[in-house]
Subunit: 331 residues, 2 copies
């Protein structure tokens, strides 16, 4: 792809993760459903934060984690996301640029502060996410750089951000630009909470041919197909996109292209599972890098599995090990 | 100590640590001396941050880490430090309170932003610190709560903050209040950079009887005594304070009281050494808790060693394991 300047350009939530350990009893007291993502307003975020234990802050955001992973895997990555002109915004921009990810979106000087995601990690390594979207959902089409989109082999969009009206308009415009330039468009369903209210719109978007690559986990594909059985759900969706990728937790992952289904088991890199935050994000990173490198579906899935295995071996959703080296050794 | 509300009240830098991995070559390019602490102005901090790799943020500050350790060890702790009314200030206050540390200092609404410490961790687990002091050194005596000081068994002061004029005036006033209430005063020499320009003043402070407990590492005690030999330096200082505590890196630690010298080796808790940031801070926490519990010098040193061993087993200078449980098991 010598005519491109980026392998993957993502549009997504620009948020800083605030990660703390929590007991199951804390989730129960706060009425939080383990493993889920809920959206908080400013007051709700302040209230929950005041009850959380000592935390660490790292840049996050689902699609941002994915392009961080793409860069760590040696891919050329870019990110479009809205932060405010505040300290958390500075941290977000620093971290994504420090990874070599191209980031051009100007911070907003008025409006809400930079978004954050309060993440509670229980002793079983599960993460429960509580997002204050802040500036992230104030992204508009004006923030787009058409040349950047045209120069990217794959445009990657997340449903977390897509479900807000303003950002969705920006994403729709980005998809049109990418499509006209002959680029591929990838979309992740993000979370079941993003699907319910928008199921018909997402199906219509797939049927319009706008999406080449669709990422989902088992719960999400069932929600999108509105079917209880995973295999039936996959069968109902697979012909609506060129490539469908489904992660199945401890059962590995699979991809379907032209009716051909390929599966891989989870990768093991030693060490226990510490924090599952970012597993899906890094899986997508590995798969996208595999595709950008022109690899087979199976190899792309395996790179995804290795990247996911690294991210769950430590706290936080950005890679810590040399991912490229890990993949070259394990693939 | 039933007449006290706190075991340890510390006055120190209120800063957020920005921790990133770095190669030795990066330190060389930036002209940084490994293991040292240097002070940066706002421009210098911005410049260095822009070159650092992806980071994680955790609340820090030497004396603040110490009281975090005191609280994690089951002690009653308080902290006095200046942050600004900004996002990093909110993070600092959240984290210290989440540990159960009493924190009453109002954030400053004008002036410099909350301080931060850019910490580079090289592959050998050594830390090199670059501090933008910001609001932390705008602490004044007005921020003190006399009742809080009078109600604390031990007042703990750090030289990092003491060397600035305004904070030093606040510390002097706090020492007077503590002394009048019959409380003990502890002081840590922090870093050799804090000693050179203030050597005579520190000696005079010791000779005035203001300090009961003095904490130093080998380099610092040599700098204070202005003697190359560690034993000679200890001999020159030990009679100037009731208790002198000296940490000696891999050689363990020692304490001298009334001419009696007690030493302990380093504690081992398994796992490698990941990041030495905070080792001295947590050593002081363990020793102070031992003293607050009325334990012997030797037991206090051993608690210090165990707390230090925990902190160097992971990234960051705030305890992650259940420190009290660890000490109860290992002591």
């Amino acid at each position: 792809m010598t005519d491109t300047r980026l392998d993957v350009l993502a549009i997504g939530d620009a948020v800083v993760d605030v990660i703390a350990r929590a007991e199951d009893s804390f989730l129960a007291e706060e009425g939080l459903v383990k493993g889920s993502m809920q959206v908080l307003d400013a007051d709700g975020a302040t209230r929950l934060y005041s009850k959380m234990s000592q935390a660490r802050e790292t840049s996050g955001g689902s699609a941002a984690n994915t392009v961080a992973g793409v860069a760590a895997l040696g891919g050329r990555a870019g990110f479009v996301g809205q932060v405010a002109a505040d300290q958390l915004g500075e941290i977000f921009i620093h971290d994504i640029r420090a990874l070599g990810v191209e980031f051009l979106t100007p911070p907003k000087r008025d409006g809400l502060p930079t978004g954050r995601c309060l993440i509670l990690v229980t002793p079983d390594a599960q993460r429960t996410m509580n997002t204050f979207r802040g500036a992230a959902h104030q992204l508009t089409a004006e923030a787009l750089d058409a040349e950047q989109i045209r120069g990217s082999a794959i445009l990657y969009l997340e449903a977390y951000l897509w479900r807000s009206e303003g950002p969705r308009a920006a994403m729709n415009q980005a998809m049109r630009i990418a499509r006209e330039a002959g680029r591929r468009v990838a979309f992740t369903l993000s979370d079941i909470a993003c699907i319910g209210p928008h199921r018909r719109e997402i199906i219509a978007m797939l049927d319009s041919g706008a999406i080449d690559l669709l990422f989902a986990n088992e719960m999400e594909i069932r929600a999108l197909a509105d079917l209880d059985d995973v295999d039936a759900a996959i069968a109902a969706i697979q012909d609506r996109v060129r490539v469908l990728v489904v992660t199945c937790g401890a059962d590995g992952a699979l991809a379907v292209e032209d009716g051909r289904r390929v599966g891989v088991p989870v990768a093991r890199i030693g060490g226990g599972i510490v924090d599952t935050t970012g597993a899906g994000d890094l899986f997508a990173a590995g798969f996208l890098v595999g595709q950008a490198e022109g690899r087979s579906l199976e190899e792309s899935l395996r790179i995804g599995s290795i990247a996911a295995a690294e991210i769950i071996s430590h706290f936080g959703a950005r890679p810590e090990a040399n991912l490229r080296e890990l993949v070259d050794r394990m693939l």
